[in-house]
Amino acid sequence: MIITYMFYLLSFLAIMFGLMVVLSKNPVHSVLYLVLTFFAIAGHYVLLNAQFLAAVHIIVYAGAIMVLFLYIIMMLNLNKEAEPHKSLWIKASAAVAAGSLLVVLVASIKGTVAITPSNEFNPNIGLIENLGQTLFKDYLLPFEVSSVLLLAAMVGAVMLAKKSIK
């Protein structure tokens, strides 16, 4: 039962912080709210028996990506409410569009025919061992390939960020 309450709580937090990310005026606040959202999501991961993933999630997102965000914000000196005034029309249309997307998505998901898991329930799939098996056996190729991705991103980011020698 407590798990159910945990679900509700974490879901509420995730949604609320998510909204705060979007709605806060100050970018730094947004970043912080996003970190909180990530924690809420990490909590969900734990609930879902994906402990390793939860840890990675915190490390990668909260630890790396968000720091990067903060770093950029600081570097570019964006930590103020510098956003120009948005017209009501833009606000309304954004709300309407996102709202209708939500409605449509929910509506199309709602009538779901129950998904019947083919496997026996196994609470251990989220363990490192299982994940490692899958990742380095079945998903070895994508794993290797993602190195190309990261390399490309790295090269690219460096190339863009460095000052061009004129």
């Binding site: 833009i90 249309s93 954004a94 569009a97 996102a98 209708s100 997307l101 449509v104 998505l105 509506a107 199309s108």
Partner: protein, 632 residues
């Protein structure tokens, strides 16, 4: 001899080619010699053929030259038909044609286009011969249009003059209106009979019952063609204008030969008409009306050639009247006599004009009798012939027509008589004004007056003799004649004559003759009274006229009416089609599509705002819509 018939049209063609190609380099005498010589050759051949035909038992010869057009079951040979009718016309054409060529040597001697003139004339003779020689309708049509072309060329002979060119153009176009009818008729003939050769068509037509609608339609269509070529109401206005051409042309083409092509065509197709009473009726009525109508206009014209032109129209109407009442022989007879006397009159008029130095207005003439005696004499003979003075050729032919008209329909006869009366009046008016009284022209003109050269007078003399004796071949039986012509043409009209029986009591015939002569005499006298005794002169230009007189003087304003109801609307419609329909609507739609694309382009490009927010917004909305389709 008959095998050589191909030479008859070929000779003029050769003449045309020689003169046409080398005319500039040849001297006028050689041109004249070649030009007239080839026609004389044709005439000689035609004469030989005529006698061969007259003497022989076979009355119909077909000479195939080559297949001209063939498509499916339509096969049109280029072939000639020799029968009494065509051989008669051959004689008229080549005979009168020769005389007129001869005349032209003198008449045109001072013209720089001498060679061209002879080339055209030869070409005309060629086409005219084709017209009468053809063994099927399409060959006739070839000649038909060909003479139209030559007429165009010759009317506009003096091509620097815009008015002449307009007249030429008008002639060609009006003829084409008729030609279209003719062409439709030919096509309908083909579709009906599967052939257009006379032999085949007439044979088949014989088996149709009288009044078959398709025959009526064919007959009427052909008649439309005849109306154009033979200047019948309402397509007659080109003929008076055609007098713009040199006078020999008027004599040859617009009096003696080409304009009678319509009569030839209907006479040729007599069986089709005999089988179609409606068409006959139409022909008769149109003919009679034209005769009368043109005669009234002739009463008030002052141009010597115009009078003769209207007289021609009127006489052609007479011939159609004859055809319409079934007097085929009479019509052909009148064609022949008319060819003699009208050619004579025109040539005479030409001689007068020649003498007057180009002046054509009768108001400026008068008393020419003493200056140009030969012309005067021959002209008088012509006048007497045309008014139907007893004994002259016109008398017999007219009489035959009137008799048939009388039997057919009294009203037509009345119209005929009226026309005859007016003819008498205006012809003698012409004669009196020109030759009697005193000279009214300028001193210069008077000084210039002289008799025409031999080459002009000889044809006049020959024609005047023909105009006198030409009637002899058709003296009606009541006058003790044998009517040679009727006998001769019998094979041609055999099928028709069995259907249209002409019978009039002798007494009636006499009566009709007497009436005709009486009327003629009366009007001759009245013309004499007015123009010789009282020395009345036609009103000068610009003088106010009596309403009726004005109406007639202005030719009922028919030209103006045509201008208003046809030419102007046509131009207006064409302009409208061009400027409004074509440029605005049809092209407008096409261009409009182009503009529409541009407009759409400039409109929807605005959606590409450059603003990411907007792009994402559109994306999201599209996603919503796509997912929404899933929900439905």
């Amino acid at each position: 001899m008959i095998k050589l018939v191909g030479l008859i049209p070929l000779l003029p063609l050769i003449g045309f080619v020689i003169i046409g190609l080398f005319g500039k380099k040849l001297s006028k005498s050689i041109v004249g010699l070649v030009g007239s010589g080839v026609i004389f050759g044709s005439f000689a051949l035609a004469l030989a053929i005529f006698f061969e035909l007259k003497g022989g038992t076979q009355k119909e010869f077909t000479i195939d030259l080559f297949t001209w057009i063939s498509a499916g079951k339509l096969s049109i040979p280029f072939s000639f038909l020799i029968d009494p009718l065509s051989s008669l016309f051959l004689l008229i054409i080549t005979g009168i044609g020769f005389l007129i060529h001869l005349y032209s040597i003198g008449y045109m001697s001072h013209d720089e286009g001498f060679a061209r003139f002879f080339a055209y004339l030869n070409l005309f003779i060629f086409f005219m011969l084709l017209l009468v020689l053809g063994s099927n309708y399409l060959i006739m049509f070839v000649g038909w249009e060909g003479v139209g072309l030559c007429s165009y060329l010759l009317i506009g002979f003096w091509f620097k003059n815009t008015a002449y060119n307009n007249a030429a153009k008008k002639a060609f176009i009006m003829n084409r209106i008729g030609d279209l009818g003719f062409l439709m008729g030919i096509i309908l003939i083909f579709i009906t009979f599967g052939s257009i050769s006379y032999h085949e068509v007439f044979m088949q037509a014989n088996s149709y019952s009288s009044g078959t609608p398709v025959l009526t339609v064919i007959a009427l269509l052909l008649f439309v063609g005849a109306m154009g070529k033979s200047a019948q109401l309402p397509l007659y206005t080109w003929l008076p204008d055609a007098m713009a051409g040199p006078t020999p042309v008027s004599a040859l083409i617009h009096a003696a030969t080409m304009v009678t092509a319509g009569i030839y065509m209907i006479a040729r197709s007599n069986i089709l008409y005999s089988l179609s009473p409606v068409a006959m009726q139409t022909v008769a009525i149109v003919g009679a009306c034209t005769a009368l109508f043109a005669a009234t206009i002739g009463l008030a014209q002052n141009d010597i050639k115009k009078v003769l032109a209207y007289s021609t129209v009127s006489q052609l109407g007479y011939m159609f009247l004859a055809l319409g009442v079934g007097a085929y022989t009479g019509a052909v007879f009148h064609v022949m006599t008319h060819a003699f006397f009208k050619a004579l009159l025109f040539l005479g008029a030409g001689s007068v004009i020649h003498a007057m130095g180009g002046e054509q207005d009768m108001r400026k003439m008068g008393g020419l009798k003493k200056y140009i005696p030969i012309t005067h004499l021959t002209f008088l003979i012509g006048t007497l012939a045309i008014v139907g003075f007893p004994g002259f050729s016109g008398f017999f032919s007219k009489d035959e027509i009137l008799a048939h008209a009388y039997e057919n329909n009294k009203l037509l006869w009345v119209l005929g008589i009226l026309t005859a009366a007016m003819t008498t009046f205006y012809m003698f008016r012409l004669y009196f004004l020109t030759f009697k009284g005193t000279f009214r022209g300028t001193h210069d003109q008077e000084h210039h007056l002289h008799e025409s050269p031999k080459s002009m007078t000889i044809p006049l003399v020959i024609l005047s003799m023909l105009a006198v004796v030409g009637g002899l071949i058709g003296i009606p039986e009541v006058l003790g004649g044998k009517h040679f012509l009727e006998e001769f043409l019998k094979p041609v009209f055999a099928d028709s004559s069995s259907r249209i029986i002409f019978h009039l009591p002798e007494s009636t015939e006499y009566m009709l003759m007497i009436v005709a002569v009486a009327v003629m005499a009366t009007f001759l006298y009245s013309a004499y009274t007015v123009y010789v005794k009282n020395k009345t002169l036609p009103a000068a230009e610009g003088e106010e006229l009596q309403p009726l007189h004005k109406l007639v003087y202005n030719k009922y304003w028919i030209d103006e009416i045509y201008e208003t109801i046809i030419t102007k609307p046509l131009n207006f419609i064409s302009e409208a089609l061009h400027k409004v329909v074509d440029n605005q609507i049809v092209d407008g739609i096409v261009n409009g599509i182009g503009y529409l694309v541009n407009w759409t382009s400039s409109t929807i490009r605005l959606a590409q705002t450059g603003n990411i927010g907007f792009y994402v917004f559109v994306m999201v909305i599209s996603i919503v819509l796509i997912l929404f389709t899933r929900l439905m």
